[in-house]
Symmetry: C2
């Protein structure tokens, strides 16, 4: 299912900020690291967020690379009674943030500083102190750069029924019935550099022969609870404007169960395909499982892990 990194975007909600506890996030870069970390941390307070009477409003300020702007933001944080969370590469900016927060009584935490310092000590090299967007810093056009774009473009083209010849070229092939999240999962994985193809399973329709001729270790089967699937399909049918007559089968419980049964029998005949339960999982959670299995299988490492070199 979809990454509910909670509340990535909700325009309606954007307007209604009454009563929420404000959290300011400030970065000299994109702010995505701060946002990602705060999303994860807020997962620890699900029991009390907006639905439970204790809403939180986050406010992201990205590209903050001047002291003056930083000071303005912190002053405003003081006025609104906000918590300030920041990622600032330039040590003098980070110092500024700290001092201003102390001066104006704004609670604060440096999100990335401790990690950067731990790495600095570990490798015995000082951090550059240069923010990612600093003038003159240019992204190198590495092999990795092109490979990643290719993975996204490949994956988009394969969406919803790859051409058989392209199954061979994929790193990962997802199979599952409609609305098991193959598309968003494929896209998520492609952004991590994997070429993904997906093959829908449709009641009574044979899978393409090529699927059985490629490396079976790259095939991943997705499964889901029938009740949840029905809910998702109903929402889907509604958003596509089906009138309850057209394709009514699609979200009928009997049909849903039958189709999942059909898929289950195919999976049983291909026991080498890992069957991944997506019910109740965010896309990025399913992605983590796929990537973990993918690397475990490729690796003859004593202890399964996903390794990279920088």
């Amino acid at each position: 299912l979809w990454p509910v990194q909670q509340g990535e975007r909700s325009d309606e909600e954007e307007e209604d900020v009454a009563g929420g506890k404000p959290i300011y996030m400030v970065s000299d870069g994109t702010g995505w690291t701060a946002e990602h970390s705060v999303n994860a941390a807020l997962g620890q307070f699900e029991h009390c967020l907006v639905d439970r009477g204790c809403p939180v409003n986050t406010h992201l300020f990205s590209g903050v690379d001047e002291e003056e702007r930083l000071m303005e933001i912190i002053k405003q944080a003081a006025k609104e009674g906000a918590l300030l969370l920041y990622t600032l590469a330039d040590p003098s900016m980070a110092e500024c943030a700290k001092h201003a927060c102390q001066l104006w009584g704004v609670p604060f935490t440096d999100i990335l500083g401790p990690t950067t310092e731990a790495i600095a000590t570990h490798i015995g090299v000082s951090p550059s102190g240069i923010p990612r967007g600093a003038p003159g810093r240019n992204l190198p056009l590495t092999k990795d750069y092109f490979k990643r774009i290719e993975a996204v473009e490949f994956t988009i083209k394969q969406d919803d029924g790859a051409q058989p010849k392209n199954l061979k070229m994929a790193d990962i092939v997802l199979v599952g019935v409609s609305r098991t999240g193959k598309t968003p999962l494929s896209i998520y994985l492609s952004q991590k550099g994997y070429k993904v193809a997906n093959v829908p399973i449709v009641m009574g329709v044979a899978l393409p022969q090529t699927l059985f001729e490629i490396d079976q270790y790259k095939i991943f089967a997705l499964t889901i609870n029938p009740v949840i699937l029905q809910t998702i399909r109903r929402a889907r049918a509604k958003s596509l404007g089906f009138d309850g007559q057209t394709r009514s089968n699609y979200s009928e419980m009997d049909h849903v169960r039958e189709e999942l049964g059909f898929a289950g029998r195919i999976f049983a005949q291909n026991p080498v395909w890992p069957v991944i339960e997506v019910t109740g999982k965010a896309i990025e959670e399913t992605a983590a499982v796929v990537v973990r299995i993918y690397h475990d299988r490729k690796q003859k490492c004593s202890m399964p892990r996903i390794s990279k070199r920088y």
Copy 2:
């Protein structure tokens, strides 16, 4: 250009880990937060990483929800002389990690703990201590969930020349010549919940009339340095297997300059479109600029920011 969160995936490199300083990342969840933070932090050491003789190898261990497995990993970290960076929601697991690291002399940092604690103090609520993957925790199928999937699906369908009628339905419309990164940028933004359409600019070809009929505030123009564009197009032509004859125009410097000039004149005629320079920027950096402008324009807020409610 593409998100070079460095080294997301490189199979070749995965094998050659000789001499690199090891960093272990451990999460009871997906591990993406740790990975994202470490990617950002490693940006501070670009001057000394693999190309400069001081390689770092990261090793991600996700879904670590048992003490026993945690201990094994830390023992292995001690053997390899690794730094351990972790995100563990369960306080007893986090304590375990700390004690084991101290016992076995493994340097460590809790990546998310300080942020979670700062939020807890700020909102006056204790963290649940329950990891995201814990049994029984199920992702709710929120409006947001469906909206996000729709955004991705919409965006995939619009790639490379939206149907005119769909331009109206998009939240964001990107225009630019081939290889300015419209596709990966669209996909990146769609995952944040924006419906994105993109309209290619091709030398001598008129843009669709609908583009000028929709809300002009949602249109963003992309531009790029001609030399860099030529490099990218050459790589592209090569990877598509063009033989240097076919479509040779495409990456000829004269043609590249002319096409950028053509685009530039269109942009000048539409001064309300922000022109975003993508040269040397990672996809997520361009995305940050687009999202920032998008929200600044929608918002009548005293201080530009991107706000969300949780």
